[in-house]
């Protein structure tokens, strides 16, 4: 049901002229992809520094609230650019991307990372006054920081694996791989 809906939506996107133009534009597509990758430095670079501060490995003598406050703005800007460019990359190759097992795992991990970030932020706000100048955050927040790093390492790995076609529906996937990739019986090949 969901797989059919994703497939129908992807096929509709694929039928749009601008999607084809974007896909076939060598420079535009590569500029978008490069921006998506290079903004890792702004988004993940800042996020990792915040996480490492909580674990006591980065700027332990700077109050944690200052590190989080100062690095959050460029981090959110970086993530905004990555979301926009990520959606554009999906728009350029919608059917293959929509049926990419790696992209699907990546989206689940992105949701998990977002929930973890929200919980982390909420817990930090509630308790910051009691440990702000300590070298390490309390254990619960350190666990959140470790989870954040693990989620993002897996997200980047999945992002890299999208380029590989091992589980593409074009290869006639069957069983669990076919279901998870969202392959539809008798679908057109893109």
């Amino acid at each position: 049901m969901i797989n059919q809906a994703v497939y129908s939506f992807s096929v509709w996107l694929d039928s749009l002229e601008s999607s084809t133009l974007l896909h076939e534009s060598f420079y535009m597509y590569n500029w978008i992809e490069s921006t998506h990758v290079l903004f890792l430095m702004v988004s993940l670079g800042m996020l990792f520094l915040i996480d490492l501060r909580m674990l006591g490995y980065a700027f332990p003598n700077v109050p944690a609230s200052k590190v989080a406050e100062k690095l959050s703005m460029p981090m959110f800007f970086g993530f905004a650019v990555m979301i926009i460019t990520g959606l554009m990359l999906f728009y350029a190759i919608p059917v293959r991307s929509g049926q990419s097992l790696w992209l699907r795992i990546k989206v689940v991990l992105l949701i998990a990372a977002a929930v973890n970030a929200l919980l982390f932020h909420w817990r930090m706000k509630r308790s910051i006054s009691s440990w702000d100048t300590d070298a390490k955050a309390p254990i619960g927040l350190r666990l959140g920081a470790v989870l954040s790093i693990i989620f993002w390492v897996l997200i980047v790995i999945c992002g890299r694996l999208i380029a590989y076609d091992w589980f593409d529906c074009a290869h006639g996937q069957s069983g669990l791989a076919g279901v998870l990739a969202g392959c539809i019986d008798g679908q057109a090949q893109f």
Partner: protein, 194 residues
């Protein structure tokens, strides 16, 4: 010649001289001779364990590539924070010495991971990159970046920060951002040149 005779900027002078020599080398016939001479080395790279693993198991190559990107992200984060602090962009309430020193430590460790994973990846696609012009541009930019960071930026900022003119600090920060952005940009260019 004693380095003292070059004054307090001897590291800067030596680094600039190395960059100028490298530029002269690039525009001479020696460059082609060196390139031809390096071919056996690249052929050997492809036969090493790294080369065999990189060409045989695509998944391993992709995971190493992901760690290359992750280390680059952390390295970029450290550069943005330290250079942003030097430029007075947003990190002004954080102690400058603390920010610069810790950022440099993170930068150095990330660079080590970037280089190690980069060597693995280079072995996996040795002959492809040997013939790829942009790979050599990236290596040039990377060499300039390493020379600049360890030959100019680090020694200069090791001095008392109050003794360094604001103009010099800004120039160093801007140069650092430009050099490392060029390295990252050239890396991406390799990605869509194959």
């Amino acid at each position: 010649m004693s380095t003292a005779s070059l004054g307090s900027y001897y590291r800067t002078i030596i680094t600039v001289a190395v960059v100028l020599l490298a530029t002269a080398f690039l525009f001479s016939s020696l460059r082609v001779d060196a390139w031809v001479g390096l071919k056996p080395f690249f052929e050997w790279m492809g036969t090493t364990w790294f080369g065999v693993i990189g060409t045989t198991w695509g998944a391993v190559f992709a995971v190493v590539q992901a760690f290359h990107l992750l280390a680059m992200a952390l390295m970029g984060g450290a550069i943005i924070v330290s250079d942003g602090r030097l430029l007075g962009l947003g990190f002004s309430e954080m102690d400058e010495r603390e920010v610069l020193d810790k950022s440099h430590t993170i930068f150095s460790r990330s660079l080590a991971v970037v280089l190690l994973t980069g060597i693995f990846m280079a072995c996996g696609v040795a002959m492809k990159i040997y013939y790829l012009e942009v790979y050599w541009y990236k290596m040039l930019a990377l060499s300039v970046g390493i020379l600049f960071t360890y030959g100019i930026k680090k020694p200069l900022l090791a001095k008392s920060l109050d003794d360094i003119s604001p103009l010099v600090r800004r120039a160093v920060a801007l140069s650092s951002l430009v050099v490392w952005f060029s390295v990252a940009g050239a890396g991406r260019w390799i990605g869509f040149s194959g």
